[in-house]
Assembly symmetry: C2
Homo-oligomer: 232 residues x 2
């Protein structure tokens, strides 16, 4: 069996990817990044809770240059996080240029250094609308570049590439994921806001899958009402 390094934010997708990986690989480690986003501290705090619960190691790598030089409202150096649904044009301001490419490249180098032969990325089908570096058109050549560019021919596995976030919530429930330990909100406040694009998507995934949402959102507006407001 293979050793796998999971790119792990502490959000729903990568947490389900981690639980899923523990079933598939002989050894699993997680890799997280600080890249200057508004919610970095909050999501890593949650990432560590999940790792500690599962007894899985975590490496935190600093990519501070992204906060310093890159343009994105997701970053502390950027503007306010817009509210609304991901599909909207305004949400593009939260894209961090080539973030997944950078994270996967660093993960490839670390995996090669640690003699691990698999990388896992929890990107999903719904990410594709605004994130160019979540699409299969990016993932497929990136996987070939990583395989060709490492002695160990490191493989990139993207188990949710053809699944929606609702499917991921269902898969997580099957795996008994503790969703209360996951963090999504881009705003990085004391509580998850419940209204930014990623909170909306998180709530939608729970709602549509029929899985109880354990999250204590700051804005407790009923999801059906929020969905009408956002006209999705």
């Amino acid at each position: 069996m293979q050793k796998a390094l999971i790119v792990f934010s502490g959000g729903m997708d990568s947490t389900v990817a981690l639980y899923d990986a523990l079933k598939k690989y002989s050894h699993v480690e997680t890799l997280s990044f600080h890249y200057g986003s508004k919610h970095n501290d909050r999501e890593h705090e949650h990432a560590l809770k999940t790792c500690n619960t599962l007894g899985v190691g975590n490496t935190l790598i600093d990519l501070g240059f992204m906060g310093q030089y890159f343009q994105s409202d997701l970053l502390k150096s950027g503007g306010d996080i817009p509210e609304g649904h991901y599909e909207e044009e305004t949400m593009k301001s939260t894209v961090v240029p080539f973030r997944n490419g950078i994270m996967l490249s660093v993960a490839a180098g670390l995996a090669e250094s640690r003699e691990m032969s698999v990388l896992v990325l929890g990107n999903h089908y719904g990410d594709h609308a605004i994130y160019p570096d979540c699409r299969a058109e990016f993932i497929d050549p990136m996987a070939r570049a990583i395989k060709a560019g490492t002695y160990a021919e490191v493989e990139l596995h993207s188990p949710f590439c053809k699944m929606t976030k609702t499917d991921i919530a269902k898969r997580g429930a099957e795996l008994n994921v503790d969703f209360s330990l996951t963090w999504s909100c881009y705003k990085g406040g004391e509580k998850q806001c419940g209204r930014c694009s990623t909170c909306f998507e998180r709530r939608e995934a729970f709602y549509d899958s029929g899985i109880p949402d354990p999250t204590d959102y700051l804005d407790k507006t009923d999801f059906e009402i929020l969905r009408e407001e956002y006209e999705v």
Copy 2:
């Protein structure tokens, strides 16, 4: 005309790539990295001399995690730099896992943030022997991943991919490159050692192209004698 970001170490190859780019693109900037190699300070000192001479901007990005977590004798955290020719098995210890993948990914994100549409990497044919992340099998899918993973569809140009280092020296001479400002030596001492794999390759490129080598090496052994010693 396009704006181009050059991945720039201050060595021979990327310096010739920079001079070459100044002929081809409307605006050129350089990007250098600190990644904890033994020769990082020395090569960046030289990189800045070339940038200042040409009036070209340079951004230095810290990838300190590589020195901290990655395994390679090229790094300060690794063992001694071996002497001899690149082709030798021992030279593999100087490969930094997926270094070019990481540098190109960061460059892609920075180019997108700065609205530059081209990346230039000065990798060459001779790099392929031991570096998996210099080969066309890596460069081609990486270029596709960068194009698909950025809104601006950033292009990766690799002008020397099918050239030898001797060809690059010739191209540099045509462009009046000041080779005395370039640094190659992996050891990072006061002077370039003249005997490590990259010094050997540098000396070989000057010797074989018939271009005078302006470098004041620590070991001044005549190149023909060194070549016999190394049995190349």
